[in-house]
């Protein structure tokens, strides 16, 4: 068991970081904000911590705190224009945000180290701390799920005009979801920089965006299990596919397509839904909602 842990320790640690970033991504999506800004938040968190710790000798906990504040502040500011947009437009706007962050990280070289990034970041994170951070995140999201904020998020995702008609100040709640996403993203970005020795802008580019999104879409957008399942698949997949050598990319692609096509809610969510149905022993559906029912009736 211990030897297994030592052989796979980095894999486990990266898995935990991926779970954290997955929750950041999931929070936005489950509230109906089609954001892919998690990579940008984690870049801000990572750089804030790295710069404070390596340049100014700020103690690690204080640096993480600053990262959290930066993540919340930036995501709050960003939520204002984002609330005016919908669906794919939000995705593109957040993509633009990430690209701007990266371009600025490259440009302000004296401050951020440009393409070379920042190295010599002390490695103070280990499996224990990362696990603690993930557990705290899970507790908060579990609390959300069991109380009114979670209900509002679910309503926003499914039909925000219904939520508004019940008195929900929807822009505030969109902002809340986005700020929480920014907070978690920035904190896990900071933790990541305290694990990998050096950070550079490409770590947070298009591939990072795709990675967090994939974790959530594969795992599931709504349940606690979602990001865990998604991150687990993403962690194990490269290992399983290793014998395929250069063909791994093909396998990854095929798996993404298959999972989404046949388990559209993601592996984790589907599992949770299946368990709930089993426990309740209720028939799956009574009758399908009539197709086009909402189209025909028009005043």
């Amino acid at each position: 068991m211990m030897s297994f842990y030592y052989s796979y320790q980095p894999l486990i640690d990266f898995f935990l970081i991926a779970v954290g970033l997955g929750y950041s991504q999931q929070l936005a999506l489950r509230a109906g904000v089609f954001s892919i800004a998690t990579a940008g938040f984690s870049a801000l968190g990572a750089y804030a911590t790295a710069i404070l710790v390596t340049r100014y000798g700020v103690p690690v906990p204080a640096a993480i705190l600053v990262s959290a504040v930066v993540g919340m502040a930036v995501s709050y500011v960003l939520s204002v224009p984002l609330a005016r947009l919908r669906g794919a437009f939000q995705a593109i706007a957040t993509l633009a945000f990430v690209q701007v962050v990266i371009a600025l990280l490259l440009y302000f070289e004296s401050f951020t180290g440009g393409a070379i990034g920042i190295s010599g970041i002390p490695r103070v994170m280990n499996t224990g701390w990362l696990l603690l951070a993930v557990l705290v995140t899970i507790y908060v999201i579990w609390s959300i799920n069991r109380t009114s904020v979670g209900r509002v998020f679910n309503a926003l995702r499914q039909d925000d005009s219904v939520a508004a008609s019940l008195g929900v100040p929807i822009k505030s709640y969109y902002a809340l979801a986005f700020v929480l996403s920014g907070l978690i993203g920035a904190v896990f970005g900071a933790l990541r920089s305290l694990y990998v020795f050096n950070i550079e802008p490409v770590d947070f580019g298009f591939h990072a965006m795709v990675a967090s999104l994939t974790v959530v879409v594969l795992g599931g957008r709504n349940t606690l299990l979602g990001p865990i399942a998604g991150a687990l698949i993403m962690a194990i997949l490269p290992e399983l596919a290793r014998p395929l050598a250069e063909n791994r990319g093909i396998l990854n692609g095929v798996i993404l397509i298959l999972v989404i096509t046949f388990l559209p809610n993601g592996v984790g969510d589907e599992l949770v839904y299946w368990l709930r149905r089993r426990l309740r022993r209720a028939p799956k559906t009574m009758s399908k909602r009539k197709e086009g029912a909402d189209v025909v009736a028009a005043d």
């Binding site: 089609f34 794919a88 437009f89 706007a93 633009a96 490259l106 692609g253 993404l256």
Partner: protein, 296 residues
């Protein structure tokens, strides 16, 4: 230098337009972001390269690549999107499945090319320069501008003046209702994806030729660029995409010329962000993208 840079920007912009047209066409019909579009673009360049390497004449390779990428695009639709349309989870899921397709195509290309950067042999296209008013323009650049102009006009005619355009609009506004009118949504999707893929493939060949570089990751910067183009132009708007593409080509050129090449990405994406802020539907987009909950 100013005029020369505007010219450079216009030529780059014209190619962005070819790429972005297909992207925006697909979005216009079914509100999906096709992230595999960059890989299809890349496939066009690869097919043309290997066709010329087999000794086929360039014009034939160009034609072959255009048709083949159109076909690939139809297959992509079949593999990645068709099932999603049925289950109705399309918006999120399409992003993931198209990333899946993107990975597969890039992986194949990487292995075929052995991760090398390829380029068409010298003399594939005659190297000729024309000078006027202190500017230089190559025969290739002129050809690209001409070709893009012809294609855009042809596409505009096809979309606006033939029954296909009506069918596209019908299917995009309500697939269910259009079926009642006897319009086959499947056929419309097939045509849309074919045209989009063919345009992307053609753009790939032209880029590979004019910038001398064919690489399995060549689609990525163009895909990111396409986001900017289609948003500024208005998602789904064809004329908007063309105007925005050329605008962006010129802005980029001038940023590099007068500010710094390092800032050009930041400026382009900041422009995108500002556009979304003040014109959430782009410069030419249709209304209806606001969040609910306000009086309108």
């Amino acid at each position: 230098m100013l005029l020369q840079q505007i010219l450079n920007g216009t030529v780059s912009g014209a190619i962005y337009a070819l790429f972005a047209l297909g992207f925006t066409l697909i979005f216009g019909v079914q509100k999906l972001l096709n992230l595999a579009h960059g890989a299809i673009f890349m496939a066009g360049a690869f097919i043309a390269y290997y066709a010329t390497a087999q000794g086929l004449p360039f014009w034939f390779a160009l034609l072959l690549a255009t048709i083949a990428t159109g076909a690939i695009s139809v297959v992509v639709d079949f593999v990645a999107f068709r099932q999603l349309r049925k289950s109705g989870h399309a918006e999120f899921a399409a992003i993931v499945t198209s990333i899946g397709v993107d990975l597969i195509l890039m992986n194949i290309a990487q292995q075929v090319s052995n991760t090398k950067v390829l380029s068409f042999p010298f003399g594939t296209f005659p190297v000729k320069f024309f000078s006027f008013w202190g500017m230089r323009i190559s025969l290739l650049q002129l050809t690209i501008l001409g070709l893009v102009l012809v294609l855009v006009l042809a596409l505009a005619y096809y979309i606006n003046r033939t029954s296909f355009g009506r069918q596209v609009r019908a299917v995009s506004s309500n697939e269910h209702a259009s079926a009642l009118l006897g319009i086959s949504a499947a056929a419309v999707y097939r045509q849309t994806f074919f045209i989009a893929g063919a345009l992307a493939g053609l753009a790939g060949v032209l880029i590979g030729l004019s910038f001398n570089s064919i690489h399995f990751m060549m689609g990525e910067p163009f895909l990111l660029q396409a986001f900017v183009v289609v948003v500024i132009g208005g998602l789904g708007s064809l004329q908007g995409a063309v105007v925005a593409a050329i605008l962006i080509g010129i802005v980029q050129s001038l940023t590099i010329a007068y500010l710094s090449s390092e800032l050009s990405t930041a400026i382009i994406f900041a422009l995108l962000f500002v556009t979304l802020l003040f014109f959430p539907n782009g410069l030419f987009g249709r209304a209806g993208n606001y969040a609910g909950g306000s009086r309108r």
